[in-house]
Symmetry: D2
Subunit: 293 residues, 4 copies
Amino acid sequence: MSDEKPQIGRLGSFVLLASCPDRKGIVAAVTEFICRHEGNILDLEQHVASDDAMFFMRVEIDRSGFRLGEEEFATAFQPIAGRFAMQWELRRTDRRPRMAIAVTREPHCLYDILVRHQSGEWAVDIPLVFSNREDLRATVERFGIPFHVFPITPDTREAQEARELKLLAEERVDFLVLARYMQILGPAFVHAYPNRILNIHHSFLPAFAGARPYHAAFERGVKIIGATSHYVTAELDRGPIIEQDVIRVSHRDSVEEMIRKGRDNEKVVLARAIRAHLEHRILVYQNRTVVFG
Amino acid sequence: MSDEKPQIGRLGSFVLLASCPDRKGIVAAVTEFICRHEGNILDLEQHVASDDAMFFMRVEIDRSGFRLGEEEFATAFQPIAGRFAMQWELRRTDRRPRMAIAVTREPHCLYDILVRHQSGEWAVDIPLVFSNREDLRATVERFGIPFHVFPITPDTREAQEARELKLLAEERVDFLVLARYMQILGPAFVHAYPNRILNIHHSFLPAFAGARPYHAAFERGVKIIGATSHYVTAELDRGPIIEQDVIRVSHRDSVEEMIRKGRDNEKVVLARAIRAHLEHRILVYQNRTVVFG
Amino acid sequence: MSDEKPQIGRLGSFVLLASCPDRKGIVAAVTEFICRHEGNILDLEQHVASDDAMFFMRVEIDRSGFRLGEEEFATAFQPIAGRFAMQWELRRTDRRPRMAIAVTREPHCLYDILVRHQSGEWAVDIPLVFSNREDLRATVERFGIPFHVFPITPDTREAQEARELKLLAEERVDFLVLARYMQILGPAFVHAYPNRILNIHHSFLPAFAGARPYHAAFERGVKIIGATSHYVTAELDRGPIIEQDVIRVSHRDSVEEMIRKGRDNEKVVLARAIRAHLEHRILVYQNRTVVFG
Amino acid sequence: MSDEKPQIGRLGSFVLLASCPDRKGIVAAVTEFICRHEGNILDLEQHVASDDAMFFMRVEIDRSGFRLGEEEFATAFQPIAGRFAMQWELRRTDRRPRMAIAVTREPHCLYDILVRHQSGEWAVDIPLVFSNREDLRATVERFGIPFHVFPITPDTREAQEARELKLLAEERVDFLVLARYMQILGPAFVHAYPNRILNIHHSFLPAFAGARPYHAAFERGVKIIGATSHYVTAELDRGPIIEQDVIRVSHRDSVEEMIRKGRDNEKVVLARAIRAHLEHRILVYQNRTVVFG
């Protein structure tokens, strides 16, 4: 039996994310495996990237009645994973992820996240926000969330990022959202959270990467501006894109108007990306994303 | 092995469309059945309508290597269909459907369809176009397609529709597209082609059903206008919606401007609906559609 | 000299909003009048509704150097207004309007407005929020804004609305925003603030007016849902539309998903309507709006 | 008296396009001038680019009753133009422009233009289509329009372009539309038609300039693809942008799907740009466009 609302069961559900070279019989093997252990498939999506014949799959399994626990699953699933040379991971929907936020001065994405969190829109905990500046302390603390400042200069970057990583580890943070954080993360930091740092860039990437994208968009005279949420990789603004959206502008819009209108777009693009991440709907392959349903 | 392009195999593929009350094990049973007969699943999508616990599924099976032909499939699949009280149909992608078109005076949707057809965008044959008027004869015949006229008056409607149905039957028409056909089809006609008559209505239904929707939209002062493609049912403009889209208007747009801008919207909405129908991606249930992929 | 940013001058600017039957020479007469009194036109937009030949105009005049004050303008402009049978009003951009908000239980539009206000996005004061329930008191008071509760029953409506009107008058409120206020205002209330009560309705009007529009949209199986901001008139959900926008949904979206996705749409539609109202860009005529640039 | 439909008068109307450094009194001077010569302003739009204080204006004047003819206007307007250091041009709406089209192999934009032309959607004449290949001859000739082929190799480019220019001159072509013309025009050609060659580029510029933009977009994993219509300048894909639009894609879309979906976007973006050009609504300044109303 399937259902759109995953967390109905007392025990929540498992989400199996898997990818492998495409071959005959993958879906049948996986679904037969689940059925054999009395699992109830709540949702199943699959995709084959035809250009390089890679297979991607997301299956959500009701844990009520399912005979396998987290560790048993790994053992029991091993033969199938081996046969298809599958990369896979299993996630539990009853475990609220812990999300940290990094900000600098712009409050709009931060506010948007805090309000959604407070309204209960997302099943997530926010143990901390950190920044390289003091500006947004009051905003964050008003929502009862600890605010940490790590000032960054070229000389202190490495040491400060080490302290940030230590804090994230202590707080058992699962993933980090850069909500208009105006510092470039060093390679050690990026390496510590692969496909677990979400950024919002205020342009329609790959157009206008780097600094001051609205100014660049204005200069170029574009008729549409965008925002892009992507996972952070070592290469600036080049990570796998999760979500993008755009809004229409015209000659009437000054740079300031573009910035103002763009904010509403940035907020919603970042929120959609966070939601997809929280729901374990994203698979990354070849610096691109598969974002299921 | 899966693939995005269905018709790769020499024999094309089967599309299985199925729906039933939601229960445990449907996906596993169907995929195991396909696998057992050496079938290769090219694509699989499923959906559960949580409000009434109905299960919907679309599976595309490569016919190369598949041990079942069309009739054998029916027999072999019967036990599964019976067990789950499943409604199902099997379609072949190597069989080009035959599409008829009905028009009156507006040429834009007609032209759009004829050009797509001629460009080879769709795997469809168009054996005929019919109309209640002569106006578009030259447009149609220029594309080498027979054009039939059935003038309609209140007194002749029933007899003329019978003649139309006879023609459609003779030409083995699979489905009919009303490309701005300005006559209301009688119940006998509608009944003859259930979920096989596609209409384009020039409003965002359910707003502005009936005649002169752009005039009504202008009167109401809306800031967005739409178009809706739906299957025709006995109730006017109330059939299951396949596709909708909108465009922005403003106080600057007169009714004439709305009509002009709306045409581009109508064309693309109808074209998307036709494509979904041709690719066997639509399931109808409770006067709503599930449109896969 | 013109400029996109109105409030540059020390004294701000005047906005002249005018409408009259269309005739030759209106623009020339008005601009010559402004020029003669040493006024600097910052922005000028005009529109003629061709269906009924009505002329609409918005002119923004820099007050620096302009020889006319508010009262003198009225006297000096009278001959032109008389000649063209013009309806007109003059507004000052240096005077921050006072906006009240009415809410019930849904916090998303309220939060969105409070955060924009706090971020300084709008030149507006918010002296109060009122509600028929206690639910959102903490949210409002956190932003340092007084929160008033007027419980409503069929028997008390008239008396309570009189108290609300008294409060609005005492606080010199210029206009009222219904940010998902789930009570129907009585005729006396509506009459007191003509074209000065903005509502957000959670559907693409005129589709799904009245209660539970997302449920109705789901039932009808639409592929797009919308939100509409309009001025409140005596007829429910029938007032002049200021702004609308839509988002795409599919069979995958349950009613709950539509409600969740719709919230982001409602917020931005209401915010745009408020901004247009604040910038004196809206003219109402025949239950429709002209929303300038 | 104003009106949305310009060509009502027996004589059509004049469109005055003007730009100059922003100063006090420009609108008043121009409108007073028109009024003094008994001109009836049908439409007036103005814009000030605040970043560099440039003023732009478009005025449409009914020629019925207007005392000035084309040449008299130039003389009479000279004092105002001189006073404000104005660049200006005057166009007549009763004179159908002559538009040439260049194509290579892709038929979709060509077809779209020919059908709109045939339907009378635009007030334009199309005296010829030229190409570097024979492929689309039948498509063009079916619409009764002469088709010319100028094969291009690196060695013959210059000579062939000279022949093309000669043909355009003989046919008194006002502007040229590159409807997926897959040759780069040489500097002499571009120089001959400043802001009078419209191109459609199949990406959201400045992203994915140059060849094979859909392939590049697929590689980068974007979630939205676009199309851009711009005036051609010496620098490839860098000319002033007239119109852009986008469509949403996902991991499900192969390059071929992007190409197919993109076509519908290209068609409508190019059609909107052509319409704006035909209606004399475009002003170019600093490699950007002002596109009025």
